[in-house]
Amino acid sequence: MADPHETPPIDELLKGLWRENPVFIQVLGTCPTLAVSNTARNALAMGLATLVVLVGSNVVISSIRKLVPQQVRMACYILVIATFVTIVDYAIQAISLDLYRALGAFIALIVVNCIILGRAEAFASKNGVGRSALDGIGMGLGFCVALSCLGVVREILGYGTLFGVSLFGAHYQGWVVMILPSGGFLTFAAWILFANWLRKRGVSS
């Protein structure tokens, strides 16, 4: 990796969207990616919740990075991340109980989403607050976009709806496998194939 201080700040934001996309390129955080992407709404909500936690933890961790000794840094990072996740958990319950029911146990699992700890360890602990915030926003948006890509495909095929709006009329027989975890794997594989094809094409031209 190039010295991060040489890259322009805007690049910290953009890299997460495509060049270092956490889901399609780094293949991190696949557990929530597969589990919560069965509808577009769930996927988007999970992506946004992760985005909030990621930006918050990146900012805090980069601002305390000089105060925390090497030996206990992981414990401190997890503490910060867990706090943000719990706050987001309460916030979602306050905003919509229906949404909370749909996301269920996966909110709490944001704590161990390896994208968040990965960015804390690989980026926020070595860079300034501004850059870390940009990195968090970029990676979070990248995660959000990737999850939505899966969610849209799975909802259209599995339920015949998009964001709950029926597309093919009442007689569409849903493709149940797409809603189940196995459909998540299939869709995920198809998107990674597409992402790799795009990347290869970009390199050769």
């Binding site: 990796m1 069965n38 305390i64 105060l67 925390v68 000794p69 090497q70 030996q71 206990v72 414990a75 401190c76 503490l79 910060v80 867990a82 706090t83 719990t86 706050i87 309460y90 916030a91 319950q93 306050a94 919509s96 109980l97 029911r101 269920g104 690989a122 070595k126 599995g158 339920y159 849903g174 149940v176 809603i179 189940l180």
Partner: protein
Amino acid sequence: MSDTAAVTTAPAPIWPMYRSMVGIGLICGVLLVGAFQITKPIIERNKAEALARAIFQVLPEAASSKTFALGEDGRFTILEGKPAGQAIVYGGYDGTGRLVGMAVEAAGMGYQDTIRLLYGYAPEQNAIVGIQVLDSKETPGLGDKIIFDPEFLANFTRLDVTLAEDGSGLAHDIVSVRHGQKSQAWQIDAITGATVSSNAIANILNKSAARFVPLIQAHVDDFRETE
């Protein structure tokens, strides 16, 4: 990633470790308490609203509701304040204050996890007149049809729960039958591909109705004498 931190072998000073761990722990603790306190009233209001919506859904004729607690003597009394572990039954009344039915909460094991539901019981019709699933983790696309499938929910517009002659239980157990084979008013037409979840609903209703319907029938006036 590639630039891993250098591993130090010298013994580390203890004080900065304590300082950072305890300090971060304290700050996080304060933040959590703050977030909990701020969101608690909103979350409780949301839950109460969801429950109120469910009560009016399972008792379509009801316009207002009152909360009753089941006492140890089997009588129902209006509940003041918060429930302290007693069973709760909601009485539903129409616009003129006439009793139309009771909403009862019931729970039981589903395919993956506990299903919690609310059902409406109309004593004058001897029937369950509506159910609403409050909480479930049934398989999306299959088992979760118990929540919204219109054909399945049509089972509960008038599900017979007539009492046995001695008044101690139901005359007929509520059972689920294979899709399209419902022939009696106390049977539930199961969803194809969601047999376990359909059976679970039938079992939950049967168990709860067998307990509450006799109690309610014996003391229907408990719900009326509250004007």
